[in-house]
């Protein structure tokens, strides 16, 4: 994979606080990389620093191997990028002129220029709005215009800063679908900041989870989801059950960890006596009636009491007390079929391979 953009020792300090601290980051040509993290994690700041809209305090940004600001002029660098913000930030003119604005800034005109603008209007389904004033557009139409304006200059890297955060769910869905298609078609290198992990999972080749200005973990979506590097990443990507335990025994690749007196089997790498964090994703927990024959290959079966059932739309979140807290997702249908209610005793099972072990290192007992 070819690196298109690289950040080295990048720090952004404003008002005495360190907003971004990224020792190294490589973006590969053609990939879609998402920056996810809570508000204030530094996603927007990192994005703006990478396109030189905010001057980094220290460090270097290399575009195709050349240092921006030194070997390469900032303006020239910016002219090879495009950025879409959460707000459409359209100009007070027609949709056509808005989409054309990036090209006009580059001094382009003529028949080829019109053809490019028209094709972007078509691509984002706003050709019928071409002569409309940007003031009269709906939120979705305005954001489509903003995306078309960005793509019109054929950017070598596209920066997206929470581009769908202000849209209602149906509009968001249709724009994400279109963007997905366009990205597959153009193979534009894309860097997107979002706090919506589902959006990131859907669009990204890689995900970087940010916390307090640092990149906590950067990897493929499946790895981030199933093998988070620490508690923060685990909870941010939707691991509902995070348990503290200690390894009692290690045998043939299986670990036996003790959590609150209960033994849990997991697959992973840790030493006996080591403190670990066990991560269990709610969709990997299956529920059965207590006492019944739990016909499953899972090694771990715990009996627990249903503490709380929270409806989540298509599925229900079931909080269990198995001597330790455990969260499972079940569909509303199976919830009814099994007659699950609060205070009922059920059997919860989890495959040992579905439990992710994070090593904490050796620590004396009772430090948690």
């Amino acid at each position: 994979m070819k690196t298109i953009l690289e950040a080295k020792n990048l720090n952004v300090i404003r008002g005495g606080s360190l907003l971004v601290d990224v020792p190294g980051l490589e973006i590969f040509e053609g990939e879609t990389l998402s920056l996810i993290g809570p508000n204030g994690a530094g996603k927007t700041t990192l994005l703006q620093a990478l396109c030189f809209l905010m001057k980094p305090s220290t460090g270097q940004i290399l575009f195709r191997g050349q240092a921006v600001g030194a070997a390469q002029h900032v303006l020239e660098y910016r002219r090879r990028l495009a950025m879409v913000f959460q707000e459409p930030l359209l100009f007070d003119t027609t949709v056509f002129n808005n989409v054309a604005s990036g090209l006009r800034i580059r001094g382009q005109g003529g028949a080829e220029f019109r053809r490019v603008v028209e094709s972007q209007l078509e691509r984002f389904g706003i050709a019928h709005l071409r002569d409309r004033s940007a003031k009269t557009l709906s939120g979705g139409e305005a954001q489509r215009t903003s995306l078309a304006r960005a793509f019109a200059i054929s950017p070598e890297i596209l920066f997206l800063d929470e581009p769908f955060a202000a849209l209602d769910p149906p509009t968001r869905e249709s724009i994400v679908t279109d963007l997905e298609k366009v990205l597959a078609e153009t193979k534009t290198t894309t860097l997107m900041a979002t706090h919506d992990r589902n959006e990131a999972l859907r669009l990204s080749d890689r995900i970087a989870v940010m916390e307090k200005g640092r990149i906590a973990q950067i990897d493929r979506p499946a790895v981030i989801l199933n093998r988070p590097i620490d508690e923060f990443v685990a909870s941010f990507v939707g691991t509902e059950t995070i348990l503290y335990g200690r390894i009692r025994e290690k045998s043939r690749g299986t670990l036996a960890a003790v959590v609150n007196g209960t033994e849990i089997e997991a697959v992973g790498d840790a030493l006996p006596g080591e403190e670990v964090i066990l991560c269990i994703r709610p969709e990997n927990v299956t529920l059965a009636m207590a006492g019944g024959d739990a016909a499953t290959s899972a090694r771990n079966t715990f009996t627990g009491r249903i503490e709380r059932i929270v409806p989540m739309g298509l599925y229900q979140r079931v909080h269990l007390d198995c001597g330790f807290p455990l969260v499972a997702y079940v569909t509303s249908q199976s919830l009814e079929g099994m007659g699950l209610i609060e205070d009922l005793q059920v059997a919860a099972s989890v495959k040992a391979t579905a439990i992710h072990v994070i090593r904490q290192g050796r620590r004396p007992a009772g430090t948690h």
Partner: protein, 232 residues
């Protein structure tokens, strides 16, 4: 009551018969105030834009001074312009006191802070992220400023209208530095003052109607600008 009704009747006769004196005074007023506004547009808009788009120490002080300048009393301006242009004054050698040039200078001094203050507010009201978006579109700094000015064109038009409205209705400075010389430096406001003091209410009312008409047109445009929408 008769005086008023008769005055209004006479005024309309003067207006509709296109009385040469009324038309002459109106035309001259437009020329002086228009030129003054034009000058204030260059100075006011450029300084207003620079102050709006940059950060520097003492910026708050500058902004408050500009806002104070928006309420500059015309007589004070008239006084100082007179002193400067007085035969023995620092600029006395120009010998332009009691000429249209002196009136244009005084009115430009009155209009400039008005245009500057409103331009500054208009440029500042644009979303801060819009500047980032323009730079991200590959604009140079000069292109960015041009695009921002184009985006603020209506509020900037409001600045021009407010500046023009300020000077066309101003009387203190015009009478002090112009002297209300018939056919030379007489404008709508100074003529109204004089005709009223002489008891010629008909012509005074005719001139006032023209002033009111200007005030109405200016406010019509301002209202339209205030009610408009901004794109997303």
């Amino acid at each position: 009551m008769d005086i008023i009704l008769e005055g209004i009747r006479q005024a309309f006769i003067l207006l509709f018969s296109l009385d040469p004196e009324v038309i002459g005074i109106t035309w001259f007023s437009l020329k002086v105030s228009g030129t003054a506004t034009f000058i204030s547009l260059f100075i006011g808009m450029s300084i207003g834009t620079v102050v709006a788009l940059t950060q520097f120490p003492g910026r708050h002080l500058v902004v408050s001074l500009i806002n104070t300048g928006m309420a500059l009393p015309p007589v004070v301006v008239g006084l100082f312009v007179t002193i400067f242009l007085w035969r023995n004054g620092p600029l006395g050698f120009l010998e332009i006191l009691y000429t249209p040039a002196a009136m244009i200078i005084a009115q430009a001094i009155i209009a400039t802070p008005i245009v500057m203050g409103i331009s500054l507010a208009a440029m500042q009201q644009q979303p801060r992220k819009l500047r980032l978006q323009i730079l991200a579109l590959g604009a140079t700094r000069i292109q960015m400023v041009w695009i921002l000015i184009r985006e603020a064109r209506l509020p900037l038009l409001a600045a021009v209208m407010a500046g023009f409205g300020g000077v066309i209705s101003e009387v203190g400075a015009s009478i002090m530095v112009g002297g209300n010389i018939k056919g030379y430096t007489r404008v709508l406001t100074t003529a109204t003052v004089m005709e009223t003091s002489r008891g010629n209410f008909d012509i005074a009312i005719a001139l006032s109607i023209i002033l009111l008409l200007f005030a109405y047109l200016i406010n019509l445009v301002l209202t339209y600008i205030q009610q408009r929408e901004r794109p997303r």
